[in-house]
């Protein structure tokens, strides 16, 4: 299980994750965050991505819908005002773009706002289950106070009906696609390399 963070922590306690992916807007993490206000802006910014890294998108409904149709996009990142419609989730399943479900937005909100977020989460999970949409569960922590253990993150989303083994699988697949040289595709990987070539 991998956690996707939005900051570089100075010293990280053992939280039970296999490893961490740092999704940052500055080009120094193993993931890149692209914020866009319109589909045009998104397309423009995506053209500028040259580095081999996981690309995450933050934007409004129209931006998310455009993002799932772009080949360079790997994950639709989660934030407080993210809105995904039914069609976007269905497209995400077809185009193999992961949907992030994050815990930190629930820590930053209270009361009615959080109530609506819970409702939206429940609906998103319902559609995710229906179309078998790739999804990842993360803390998406922006500071050290939003860090939680793997068990906590998994229990939280399990409570709302998410299938945690699938989330683990999708996260692993996403990370291996970029950072494991032996990985080719699902169920197909290089076991051993000899001097003359693949064994």
């Amino acid at each position: 299980m991998y956690d996707f963070l939005r900051f570089f922590p100075e010293n990280l306690p053992d939280l039970g994750f296999k490893s961490y992916v740092f999704m940052l807007e500055k080009p120094k993490g193993c993931g890149i965050v692209i914020r866009a206000n319109s589909p045009e802006e998104l397309r423009k910014k995506l053209r500028g991505v040259k580095r081999r890294a996981i690309v995450g998108i933050i934007g409004k409904e129209a931006v998310c819908r455009e993002a799932v149709m772009r080949r360079r996009v790997d994950v639709i990142l989660d934030w407080e005002d993210r809105e995904l419609d039914y069609a976007t989730l269905k497209l995400a399943a077809e185009k193999d773009v992961a949907i992030e479900l994050s815990l930190s937005k629930f820590l930053r909100t209270e009361g009615y706002k959080r109530m609506h977020l819970f409702e939206r989460l429940r609906q998103e999970i319902m559609v995710i289950r229906k179309f078998d949409v790739p999804f990842i569960v993360t803390t998406a922590a922006e500071n050290q106070y939003e860090l939680r253990t793997r068990k906590q993150v998994e229990t939280f989303f399990k409570f709302f009906g998410a299938e945690i083994p699938k989330a683990r699988l999708y996260a692993q697949r996403l990370v291996r696609r970029y950072f494991d040289e032996n990985y080719i595709m699902d169920g197909f990987e290089v076991e051993q390399l000899s001097n003359s070539g693949v064994v």
Partner: protein
């Protein structure tokens, strides 16, 4: 209810946790914060969970709850951000069926 035979008593679970806080927090405020979080999240109807803070030394502790309410308590513990005005990071260490095993497995160094 008092005097229930063991077969009718609700089963319990013990959650070992660790709190990382800016300042020192006491047992009472932690217990209150957790109960309030349960109440705000699940309402008066569904917040009953047999919640009780068994032990807390300022950093590590054990909280008891009914087995059926384990997930709810874990969610409430996860969503806790402040205890008596102090910012905290609650981290669960593990869950056990007995307090003795919980202490031995998760709290003894």
């Amino acid at each position: 209810m008092k005097g229930l035979p063991p077969s009718l008593r609700s089963r319990k679970r013990y959650i070992a946790f660790r709190i990382i806080a800016e300042k020192k927090i006491d047992e009472r405020s932690l217990s209150r914060a957790l109960s309030e979080k349960m109440l705000s999240l699940f309402g008066e109807c569904f917040a009953a969970s047999g919640l009780r803070l068994e032990a807390f030394d300022g950093e590590r502790g054990i909280v008891r709850c009914y087995r059926e309410a384990l997930d709810k308590v874990m969610v409430a513990l996860t969503l806790m951000t402040h205890v008596g005005g102090v910012r905290v990071i609650p981290l669960t260490l593990g869950v056990s069926g007995t307090i003795k095993r919980c202490k031995r497995k998760y709290l003894e160094v």
